[in-house]
Each structure stands twice: as C-alpha cells, then as structure tokens.
Symmetry: C2
C-alpha cells in the first residue's frame, strides 16, 4: 500500500493540489462545498501532509535540537520536561541528542577536549537536520566556552555557561542567601558552610550569598566555619566531623548539595549528634533521596522546569530575531523538612 500524498487527495476530490493545500492551511478562501469535499477525502484517507516536504518548501522545521550532556543525571529530565512543556505549547518538535557524557568520559568533566568532538558532531548533525536552534543542557554548571561552533545557529546553554552566549541559570547567590535567612529566622547565628569545589561557579555564587547574609544579619563569622568539600558524600562526612570538633561548633550548617548533606547526616549519627535538635542542616538540590533520609532534609529545590521553559523562550526569541528581554534568573525554593530546628538552647 503506497503512502498517499496530496496528489491522491486532489485526484479523489477532483481539485488541484493547490486547493488541497489551501484548505489544509487556510491560506486562501475556498468555496465552502469544495472545501467540504476536500476535507471529507482527507478524513477518509486519514491523510497527513508530509512534514518533511513542507519543511523543504517553507524552510521552517519547527524543530529545535536538544543536546543533553547526560540524560540520566538528576537535573536533566526536569529541564527537558520544561522544554517539552514550552514546545508543546508552541507546536514545536524536539530532536534529542544525548551525549551520554558520564558513561563516556566518567566524571572527568574538566577534560572537555575528550568529548568536544562528540559535542561538535551532535551540533553538526542537528544543524544538518535543519533545527532552528539548540538548547544545550550541562550536567554541572561549568564554562564551556569554545567547546562548540554553531555557525550562527542560535544556541542557549542551561546548567552550564559559555562566554558571549546566552545561558540560563538559576539564582545561586539568592538561594544560599535565602537558606541563611531561613536559618536566622529559626534563631541561628553560628552558621557554617560546607561548600563544593571552589573552582566551580555555583560554589562561588553560593558562597557569596552565604557571606552576604552573614554580613547583613551580622552573624558570627569564623573562617573555620568555612569548609570546602568536593561535592561527594565522603567529603560531607569528613567535614561535618571537622566542624563539630571545633571548640565552639556551629549550630547550623549550609551544605551545598544533598550528596554532601547525606554524608554529613551519617557523620552526625555516628557521633551521636541529633539532627535537628543539636544541629540544623540545610541541603541543596532537592534530590529525590533527600526526602528519604533520616531526618528528611530541608533543602533548596532547583527551578529546573522553569529553566527549561526559559531556555526555550530565550531561544525562540533569538530565532525570531526579537530583542532580548532580560529575564531574571529563576529562583530556588526552600523545601522545609525535618533537618532544621532552633539552635540548642544551652550553648556550650
């Protein structure tokens, strides 16, 4: 059975192919009874125009390419979901490329050269498929300047950066500021931080927010309250120990991701430190497991869905050549659970 096309419809309806096109797209007035007839034939044959042919003619594909560094990383599905949300609303399609970064180069993100070729191929491929723009979703917020050459095809980065390119990020600084403010509202003033690696942009921004809040609320500041981890659970475990062995330990800790927070919880449990009674902990990322730890941890939820939507919005603006409307980066939201309480009353 041959695939039926516009000609078949035209033939059956006794009209020219132009008429069929007109009724499908409403491009011209067509005599109602003719229109009716054409519609009936279309219905009868369940005809759907070949979008490939339409694209070739119209030079518009309504398709945007999404490059995900790794779709199995926790942030990515939600971002894609946002992208889909927007795409659905605007009748666009998504051509998905998954670089499978973790499986290919492991956690060695810094070694961009090793997967630059993959990334560049993905772009070329997408461009060849006539996508109208590209959204690039990173696995970790880092600088990707120069990684990719799009040849004027609009691209928007999210969950990563590139100089002189558009990138969508959430407001890291505000997020940690908010976390500290929340802790202050609970009565804390001796607040430590377990940061991620300091060469990472989010670590710096989150630290800024921490420090800004410290200053603004005139909190106790002790350089020993600043611990630098490596994002992994082990370092959270380790650093909580260091913090609690201080002669005058903090009453609350902001931990820059849930992985390290989980490690910290484990360390606290081993030391017989009760959370939140004796120590409050705020995490970051709102990973699924954070609601299953004991205690369930209070953490900052990342606006991933919004980032996806915003990335699309920005991209579509660029595609249609609209002037950039500078949008505020979306905000994180504190998820209140059970790892925060007031400071222990009897201060040592």
């Amino acid at each position: 059975m041959k695939k039926i096309g516009i000609k078949d419809i035209a033939l059956r309806a006794n009209v020219s192919t132009a008429i069929v096109s007109y009724v499908m797209n409403g491009t011209r007035n067509v005599k109602p009874e003719t229109k009716e007839r054409v519609l009936k034939v279309i219905e009868e044959f369940n005809y759907r125009p070949n979008a490939i042919a339409q694209s070739l003619k119209s030079r518009r594909t309504n398709t945007i390419g999404v490059i995900a560094e790794d779709i199995t990383v926790f942030n990515t599905p939600e971002i894609i979901d946002g992208i889909n949300d927007y795409a659905e609303q605007h009748d666009m399609h998504i051509l998905l490329t998954n670089l499978r970064l973790q499986k290919k180069v492991g956690y060695n993100y810094a070694d961009t050269a090793s997967y630059q070729k993959h990334a560049q191929n993905a772009v070329s491929d997408l461009v060849s498929n006539q996508v109208e723009g590209i959204v690039y979703i990173g696995v970790h917020p880092r600088d990707l300047t120069g990684l990719i050459h799009t040849n004027d095809k609009p691209i928007v980065y999210t969950y990563c950066y590139a100089q002189n390119e558009c990138s969508i990020q959430y407001n890291d600084e505000q997020a940690s500021y908010d976390a500290i403010q929340y802790l202050v509202s609970k009565g804390h003033s001796r607040i430590a931080v377990i940061s991620g690696l300091m060469d990472s942009i989010p670590s710096r921004l989150r630290f800024n927010g921490y420090y800004k809040a410290l200053t603004e609320f005139q909190l106790y500041f002790d350089p020993q309250f600043i611990k630098v981890g490596d994002w992994g659970g082990e370092s959270g475990y380790q650093l909580l120990g260091e913090l609690m062995e201080l002669p005058d330990p903090p009453t609350a800790i902001l931990v820059m991701n849930d992985l390290m927070a989980a490690g910290a919880l484990r360390a606290a449990a081993e030391r017989g430190i009760s959370i939140p009674r004796e120590l409050s902990v705020v995490g970051f990322d709102n990973r699924e497991f954070s609601a299953y730890l004991n205690p369930r941890i209070t953490t900052m939820d990342l606006p991933l869905h919004d980032m996806g939507i915003l990335a699309m919005k920005t991209l579509c603006n660029r595609i249609s050549g609209k002037e950039e409307t500078i949008e505020e980066p979306p905000l994180c939201k504190l998820i209140e659970r059970d790892s925060v309480a007031g400071p222990r009353t009897s201060i040592k």
Copy 2:
C-alpha cells in the same frame, strides 16, 4: 548570509551537483583530483547537506519517534539512554515527545481515555514528521491496547503492553524468583511478600515467581504472608505492621517496590525491629533513594538501559522487515546491600 547548498559547492568546484553528491556519498567513482577539489570547497564553506532534502528524496529519515508518557518518572531517562545508545551506534535520530502524563492526569493512569487524544496526536505528529518507527515508553506496566492507532507505522512498547503489538519488558517472574532464591541462600524459609495492586501485571508475574520459588524450595506457605499493597509508601508501612503482628511472623519479606520497602523500613524502625538482624527485606526497582535509606536496601535493579536498546533493536528489525528474532526479556539484577542477613537464630 544565504545558506549555502549543493549548487554553491558545485559552482565553486567547477563541477555539476551530481559530482558533489557522488563525492559526499561515495556513490560513484570520481576522479581523485576532482574529488579533492570538491572536498576542499566543502571544507572551506563548511558545507553540510540539508538532511531534510535528502530525506525527501530518499524517503528515509533515519529518525525514530520516542513517546515518553512522562520523562520525569524514574524509569524513563535510563530507557531513553538505552535508546540513544543504540541510535548513536546506528546513526539514527530521536524525535522526542513527552506526554507529561503525571502533570496532566495525575496518577489516574487507568483513565486512559483522558489522555488518549494526547497520545494519538503525538503519534500523528510523529508520523507526519516521517519517523520510521515509534518507541512508546510507559510509566507503569499496564495494558494500552487500543490506545493508539499507528496506521502501519511500526511501534514497540516498553514498560507497558499492548495486545498484538510488540512490547519489551523485563522478566518479572524470574526477578522475584531470584530474590526468593537469594533469601533462601541466606537461610530464610519463612518469607512473606508485600505485593503491589493485584490488577497489575507485574504484581501477578512477581507473585508467580514468588510462589514458584516457594514451591520449588519447599518453603513454609502461609496465606497470611501475602499482603497486597498499593505501591505507595504508606501501604508498606501498614502491611509490615500486619505481618509482624502475626503470631509467627516471617523472617524475611519481599517487597515489590522500593517505595513500599521504604515504608516498611520506617514501620520496622518504629517497632524497634532491627533490619536486617531481626528481619530481612528485599525491595524492587533500585530507586536512587534505596541506597540512602538506613539500612541501605537490597533491591532488584531493573534492566532499563537494556530495555531501551532492545526496543530499538526490535523496532529496527520490524522497520527493515526482518523476521522477528525472539529475544529473551532482559533480566533484573539483585543489588546486594544491607537489608538482608540470615534469619534471627532464636525463632520465637
């Protein structure tokens, strides 16, 4: 700046468009020096053929459509990752549609009618875009017969079923059989089960495996050891209580998903039942959080990646009209963690 096409290349290289096509595709022999010249021009202009036009001509798009019921559900990213793995290896592209089922109809899966239109639209859209086949990824293994009409376009379901259609599932029965066998190897003989809803296919299959193992290993069988939950954490919590209040409680429990297992752990903790010392628990799904519970739970990992690959393989076979090679459904794999030990020695 105009997009450059094959004609521009031909012009610059002083050849006909046919030659350019020949050198690009290696379709014909071309005199080496001509070839060289063409290649140089292609390189110089960084020319990439318009895949849309190629497709129109060749009537092959090398793209397959993926419909995900909900990409934010835990099983989906890994399946897509498998699909991408295969696609990358075979130079295919993925047009992704995300139905966003949970956000649209909540957990009311049974009410297929409410999103049938969405699903059907997605299919029509994909077909119109000339995908060569479709992979449909469910959020829960249920029967979708009649939901969708693909009009002869090959489709493969995974993580769900449809009568008279191809569907890829893991081996549920074997998985729970293996779990019981493992428990037996640890010395257990009084093994209860907390099942999911009994109108669900995986519940039935997993129960079959449980029962088969019980019979085969001649284990103690007590109808009171069979508890039916609803997949949610609360029911795991509830049912563990019921089980442990039995005059002669089990020494081990197979829980049919990690969500219920988490509830069961909570109930055990509240009752002062030590896991695994006094009671062993095996979960199902290997959700991320299962490694963060206390104790970390031993659970069955689902072969999601393999399912994605297998779905693609099967689909591609159908597309190219190859005879169906009946593949074995991929196997789950037990992840040994800390929620299983030998039975408590002093039996009450």
